[in-house]
C-alpha cells in the first residue's frame, strides 16, 4: 500500500520565530537562576551545577526516543508520510541531545571520578542508546526509496525504542551486582526546583528543534514530490 504523499497545499507553514526566542530565553533564565541560587557542596565545589544541563539533556533524550516510537508505530498503522518525517526529525534531535548527555557526563565525571569514562550504568546505557539512534539515521541514509526508507525506519525505530528500557535495566544490573552505585544519583532536594525549571526550559528548546526539523523535512519531501511529478508528466 503506497504512502500518502502530501498535496502541494500541505506545504508546511513556518515554525514561529518567537517560540525559538522564548525557548532559548527560558533556558538562559533557568540556568542563571540555578547557578546563582544553588549552594556550593563540600570539596566538589560547584561541580553539581553541571547536573542542571546534564540531567535535562538525558531526560530529553528519552523523551525524543519516545516520540520516535509513537510516530514510527503510527506510520506503520496509517502509512502517512508525515508521521515518518516527524519520527525522523525526533531521531535527529534525540541523537543531538544524546551526544550532549554523553559529553556532559564525561565533563562531570573527569573531576568527580578522576577519569573521563567509567562503565557506569547510566553513561553506558546512554552510549548504547546513542548507537541505536545512529543506526536508525544510518539506515535512512543508506536506503534510497522513500517508501521503503519510511517503512524500514519505522520498524527499526519502534523495535529500537522497545529495547531502551531493557538496555537500561540490564546495564544497571550489570553494574550494581558487583559494585555499589558510585554516581550520586539522587540530588539534594535543594537542587530539585532548579532541575525542574531547566528541564522545562530545555523541553521548550527541543520542541522548537523538532518542529523546525520536521518543517524542513516536509519542505524537502514536497520538493521531491514536485520533481517526481514533473519527471512523470514530462514523458
Amino acid at each position: 500500500m503506497p504512502a500518502t504523499p502530501p498535496s502541494p497545499h500541505s506545504y508546511p507553514p513556518r515554525t514561529s520565530v518567537w517560540f525559538a526566542f522564548v525557548s532559548f530565553g527560558a533556558v538562559i533564565a533557568a540556568q542563571t537562576h540555578a547557578i546563582l541560587t544553588s549552594p556550593a557542596e563540600g570539596d566538589m565545589g560547584h561541580l553539581q551545577k553541571i547536573m542542571y544541563v546534564h540531567v535535562p539533556a538525558a531526560w530529553m533524550t528519552f523523551l525524543a526516543f519516545f516520540v520516535v516510537l509513537v510516530f514510527s508505530a503510527r506510520y506503520l498503522w496509517k502509512r502517512n508520510e508525515n508521521d515518518d518525517l516527524l519520527a525522523a526529525s525526533a531521531a535527529e534531535v534525540g541523537a543531538l541531545f544524546n551526544g550532549l548527555t554523553l559529553m556532559l557526563g564525561m565533563i562531570w565525571g573527569r573531576p568527580a571520578w578522576g577519569v573521563w569514562w567509567v562503565w557506569d550504568a547510566r553513561l553506558t546505557s546512554t552510549l548504547v542508546l546513542f548507537l541505536i539512534f545512529v543506526g536508525y539515521l544510518a539506515l535512512r541514509a543508506f536506503v534510497d526509496d522513500a517508501e521503503q526508507k519510511a517503512r524500514w525506519s519505522a520498524a527499526v525505530g519502534a523495535i529500537g525504542a522497545i529495547n531502551v528500557p531493557i538496555v537500561y535495566m540490564s546495564v544497571t544490573w550489570w553494574r550494581t551486582l558487583h559494585q555499589p552505585p558510585s554516581s550520586p544519583a539522587t540530588l539534594d532536594p535543594a537542587y530539585t526546583m532548579g532541575l525542574r525549571l531547566n528541564a522545562i526550559a530545555l523541553l521548550l528548546v527541543m520542541i522548537h528543534f523538532i518542529r523546525k526539523r520536521y518543517e524542513i523535512a516536509r519542505v524537502e519531501r514536497a520538493a521531491e514530490h514536485v520533481a517526481e511529478a514533473a519527471a512523470m508528466g514530462g514523458r
Binding site: 506503520l76 548504547v128 542508546l129 548507537l131 541505536i132 545512529v134 543506526g135 544510518a138 539506515l139 543508506f142 536506503v143 534510497d144 517503512r151 524500514w152 519505522a154 520498524a155 527499526v156 519502534a158 523495535i159 529500537g160 522497545i162 529495547n163 531493557i166 538496555v167 535495566m169 540490564s170 546495564v171 544490573w173 550489570w174 551486582l177
Partner: protein, 228 residues
C-alpha cells in the same frame, strides 16, 4: 488446515536455505572458521596468562559468535537477492510470517551448529573448567542464541537489501544485542564460578523475557518490512 499449510511453507523455506548451505558447505565452513579465528586472535591478544584467559573465555566466545553470526545472517538473504527470488517468494499465496519463520529456523540451526564448534574451541583454547551444573550453561547458551537469531534475521532482511550491508547489519544489530551479551556473559560467568550469589537466575529470566518480547515484535514488524 491452514496451520498445516503454513507450517509446511515454513519447513520448505528452512529446508531450502539449509540445503543450499549444506551443498555449498563452503559457506558454513568458512563462517565457523572465522569464528574460531576470532577466538584465536582474542586468545593471543588477551593471554598468555592462563587465569586471564579463563576469565575472558565467556566474553571471547560470545564476541566470536556475534562477529561471525553477522556473516551468517546476511548470507541467509543473499541467495534471494542475487537471484531475485525474493519477489517470486512474495508472489506465492500465503502469509508473510512463514518466510520469516523459515529463515529463522534455518538460521537457528546454522548458528547453533556454529556455536557448538566455537564453544568447544573456546573451552580448549581458554582452558575453561566445566562445572557440575553445566546443563544450566546450555540453557543460557540456547536463550542467547534465540535472541541473537531473532534480531539478526530481522535486521538482515533489511540490511542485506540496502546499500551498505556489511556495516549496516552490525551497526543496527549490536546495540540491540547488548542485553543478550550482558545477560549471557554474566550468567555464564556466574555458573562457571559456582554462582554463590544466585545471580544467574535473574539474568536467565531477563533473557527469556527478551526473547519473548522480540519474538512478538519482530514477527509483527516483519510484515511491514518484507514488502519489496
Amino acid at each position: 488446515m491452514a496451520w498445516r499449510d503454513d507450517w509446511r511453507r515454513v519447513r520448505a523455506i528452512a529446508r531450502k536455505d539449509l540445503t543450499t548451505e549444506l551443498r555449498a558447505k563452503v559457506g558454513f565452513n568458512s563462517v565457523v572458521a572465522l569464528g574460531v579465528t576470532i577466538l584465536i586472535l582474542l586468545g593471543l591478544a588477551l593471554g598468555p596468562d592462563a587465569q586471564a584467559l579463563r576469565n575472558a573465555a565467556v566474553g571471547a566466545v560470545w564476541l566470536a559468535t556475534l562477529f561471525s553470526g553477522v556473516l551468517a545472517f546476511n548470507r541467509s538473504f543473499q541467495v534471494e537477492i542475487e537471484t531475485g527470488a525474493l519477489e517470486q517468494l512474495l508472489q506465492y499465496p500465503g502469509p508473510r510470517w512463514t518466510i520469516f519463520a523459515g529463515k529463522l529456523l534455518g538460521n537457528l540451526l546454522f548458528v547453533t551448529l556454529m556455536v557448538a564448534i566455537v564453544v568447544a574451541a573456546g573451552i580448549v583454547l581458554f582452558g575453561v573448567r566445566i562445572p557440575a551444573g553445566w546443563p544450566a550453561l546450555l540453557g543460557v547458551l540456547a536463550l542467547g542464541i534465540v535472541g541473537l537469531v531473532l534480531l539478526g534475521t530481522f535486521y538482515a532482511s533489511m540490511a542485506s537489501r540496502s546499500r551498505a550491508r556489511e556495516v549496516l547489519l552490525p551497526l543496527l544489530l549490536f546495540p540491540m544485542l547488548v542485553p543478550v551479551l550482558l545477560a549471557a556473559t554474566t550468567a555464564s560467568k556466574a555458573l562457571l564460578g559456582a554462582d554463590l550469589m544466585h545471580e544467574a537466575g535473574a539474568w536467565i529470566r531477563l533473557l527469556a523475557v527478551y526473547d519473548v518480547v522480540f519474538f512478538i515484535a519482530t514477527f509483527i514488524a516483519f510484515e511491514h518490512v518484507i514488502e519489496a
